[in-house]
């Protein structure tokens, strides 16, 4: 019966350990009603207007880190598995690059402050996101870049507010999450703006019938539903929707259905396709569509996520490039699209990781910069202070993804959208700006 006693011991040990953890928590909570902060030494208060371009001049002759370095952690709650297995690592790398750049700047300035990234895989699920935030919070993290998707952001919102942890999501676009005075900031416009602009561009180009093929997740549904509503109600158009389950191995059947829907709509010069997809599904769909006579005949529009190097050669196969050019794939991108920071970011990203950044990587880079700059501007590592100062910092910041002025909800204030299409110039595939949608006037104007 010694065995049984041992078993009992294990069981007891387990429950005792658990209770100790719980009691420790209670004790902690009672004795530390508020987390005690070490007063942060006054670093050289950087002018907030310092933009990323400043790092260009930083020489990498790193002197030995002086004693008395103060390290502030920046949490990266970025999913790198599950639905974000492909896309997540790009954004994580962009955020890491931003923090590296900030540190170089601080080092050059002789500041004792350094930022230390802590990455947690939020798995693209609510449970994963909350677990990631809890872990980061325990490590004393007060500023987090992420989570990525709106459903993850929803899951962590009350936690972030309760623990005064600033979360800067590089890619959550659900309109409903626009809540004033919370700890959630989003550096990308909500779906409403994009859907509004898309509907108008499609309508003004003379299309009255649109077949949508889109991911059936919060991103795809968000844009598709909003587009459908605006396009039918405001412009009197016809919309057919085909929403597919993400993460399937193949979408050929869906593409055939899409072709049938397009045929039903007439497949004429008034009919267009709108695709809302990520990399793996998008390439698969385009690969099938290019072989389809009906789908090759009509005009294609794409969501912002289609403006990735993945979709044009040399990253994409040449045949896909030919297809997107022949169907004049057109989409939007928040402007200003390019600036020196964009160029700098792309160059650095490419040279460090040997790959091209994805569109949301630009936002992740900016989110991380904003996180660091806000801590510096706040002068202390404190969520409440960072939250207060962040909108001001953002207003004066121009990053890889353009102006980052935030609205009263802490979301990227609406900006103009540039209209892009794919062209071949001197044998090279390029996304070319062909027009602009003005946020202020809600007017579309095409160049040339």
């Amino acid at each position: 019966m010694a065995e049984e006693k041992k078993g009992l011991k294990y069981g007891l040990a387990a429950s005792v350990l658990l209770n100790i953890i719980l009691l420790a928590g209670v004790a902690w909570a009672l004795t530390h009603p508020k987390v005690v902060e070490k007063p942060a030494p006054a670093g050289p208060a950087p002018t907030v207007t310092v933009t990323v371009t400043a790092t260009k001049t930083v020489t990498p002759t790193a002197p030995a880190a002086p004693a008395g370095i103060i390290e502030y952690p920046i949490g990266l709650a970025i999913a790198v598995s599950g639905p974000y297995a492909v896309e997540g690592p790009y954004r994580r790398d962009a955020a890491l690059l931003a923090i590296e750049h900030v540190n170089k700047m601080l080092e050059a300035a002789g500041s004792p402050i350094r930022f230390k990234p802590i990455h947690e895989d939020s798995k693209g699920t609510a449970e994963g996101a909350i677990a990631a935030l809890e872990a980061l919070a325990a490590a004393g993290v007060k500023v987090v870049v992420g989570p990525l998707s709106s459903k993850e952001v929803r899951a962590v919102k009350s936690f972030a507010d309760a623990h005064k942890i600033v979360c800067i999501s590089p890619s959550s676009t659900a309109p409903g999450l626009a809540v004033p005075d919370d700890y959630i900031f989003r550096v990308v416009q909500t779906d409403v703006a994009q859907a509004k602009a898309l509907a108008q561009v499609v309508a003004e180009l003379g299309y009255t019938k649109v077949a949508i093929i889109g991911r059936d997740d919060d991103y795809g549904r968000g844009i598709a539903d909003m587009f459908e509503k605006l396009f039918t109600e405001k412009y009197g158009g016809t919309v057919k929707k085909l929403m597919y389950t993400p993460d399937l191995p193949d979408y050929s059947t869906e593409v055939q259905r899409l072709a049938e829907m397009v045929s039903d709509l007439g497949a004429d010069e008034k009919t267009a396709v709108l695709i809302i997809a990520f990399d793996a599904d998008g390439l698969n769909i385009l690969g099938h569509a290019r072989l389809n006579p009906v789908l090759s005949k009509v005009r294609w529009f794409g969501s912002e996520s289609l403006k990735r190097p993945t979709f044009i050669p040399p990253k994409a196969p040449a045949e896909i490039g030919e297809f997107v050019v022949s169907v004049k794939l057109t989409g939007l991108f928040p402007s200003p699209e390019r600036n020196p920071v964009t160029e700098f970011f792309e160059k650095e990203y490419r040279s460090k990781y040997g790959k091209d950044p994805t569109p949301y990587s630009y936002y992740a880079y900016d989110a991380a910069w904003l996180a660091c700059l806000s801590v510096l501007a706040a002068g202390k590592y404190d969520g409440e202070a960072v939250k207060k100062v962040l909108p001001t910092v953002a207003e004066k910041y121009i990053g890889a993804s353009g102006y980052k002025k935030l609205d009263e909800n802490g979301d990227c204030a609406g900006s103009d959208y540039r209209i892009w299409t794919v062209v071949v110039e001197a044998g090279e595939y390029k996304f070319k700006e062909v027009g602009v949608w003005s946020f202020a006037t809600e007017k579309v104007s095409f160049f040339g």
């Binding site: 690592p89 085909l242 929403m243 993460d247």
Partner: protein, 310 residues
């Protein structure tokens, strides 16, 4: 009729690829009783090897497929030697083996993720252009059809000969039907086991290779396709070679035609598509666990006779 051509041609191609993937799963289950969830990773590994060999190694289609076969076969063999064989020797039940295969899958998938992440290969496609060679209405027959379908049929034919004519093939069949009997009747079970894993992994690798021509791949490609692989294998009876061949095509056809009809005539949301493969698994297991394995021309004839006689 023209409207049917598109889903049918799709089904032909997908059916071939599912068959190639599922054959290995069936073989390892028949011979070693492992419902191998890590089979998915052999597909992914093959896909990656193909993409790397063709895009960077300039090996060409055949060379790429050969290296995909070789590499996936080696990984499959290694997993068996290092994990499954030892567990089987310890007397693990199929359920334990299933659980172990989930563990093996995690190790392989995320090891591959690390490599792909470091090398900037999280999403990659083999650079071989797929072109239409003939169109029927909206449907198109592509060059990939011309490679993948005959390859699959050739594999089936070769395996058929192996099972029927060669010593090792007969030994495999013997082991599949009764392991203990095979052992006492002097069959080199270790060798047969190894050959089985090499073929199973290799075929999965080839299927993955084709897949990377068909569509861009990432470290989760195989895992995502696992449902369909299992559906094909289970529909075939889970232990039957010929059943699996049939199962692969039936899964391809029923999914492609099924969702097309449901969506076109009943307005069912296309997002329900994965339900078809899932329902195949559930219904076959509950209704007829032998799947299509018992469906032979003679059997069909007899049941027809019975029906008429009644």
């Amino acid at each position: 009729m023209l409207q049917l051509a598109a889903p049918l041609l799709t089904a032909l191609l997908l059916g071939s690829l599912y068959t190639l993937m599922a054959l290995g799963l069936t073989m390892t289950y028949a011979v070693t009783s492992i419902p191998n969830f890590a089979h998915a990773e052999f597909v992914t590994i093959g896909a990656y090897i193909m993409a790397v060999a063709v895009n960077f190694g300039k090996l060409g289609l055949v060379g790429g497929l050969a290296s995909a076969f070789l590499f996936a076969a080696l990984v499959a063999l290694a997993t068996d030697e290092l994990v499954f064989k030892k567990l089987a020797a310890l007397g693990a039940t199929p359920l334990h083996l299933l659980t172990a295969s989930i563990g093996v899958g995690l190790v392989l998938r995320y090891t591959l993720s690390i490599v792909a992440d470091l090398k900037g290969l999280l999403s990659v496609k083999t650079r071989v252009v797929v072109n239409p060679v003939a169109t029927i209405g909206q449907a198109y027959l592509t060059t990939l059809h011309l490679w993948a379908v005959p390859t699959t049929l050739a594999v089936v034919a070769v395996l058929h000969l192996v099972f029927m004519k060669t010593k090792i093939g007969k030994a495999m069949r013997a082991m599949a039907s009764n392991l203990d009997l095979a052992r006492v009747s002097g069959i080199n079970t270790t060798l047969v086991r190894r050959v089985t894993w090499v073929i199973a992994g290799g075929l999965a690798g080839v299927a993955g290779g084709f897949w990377s021509v068909y569509s861009p791949i990432n470290p989760e490609t195989g895992w995502v396709a696992l449902l369909w692989i299992f559906a094909a294998s289970i529909l075939g009876g889970f232990r039957s070679f010929y059943g699996t061949v049939l199962g692969g095509y039936v899964v391809g056809f029923s999914e492609s035609l099924g969702i097309t009809f449901l969506s076109r005539y009943l307005g069912v949301n296309v997002a329900y598509k994965p339900m078809i493969a899932l329902l195949i698994i559930v219904v076959v297991f509950l209704w007829k666990p032998t799947g299509l394995a018992e469906v032979t021309p003679r059997g069909l004839l007899e049941s027809l006779k019975k029906a008429v006689g009644r």
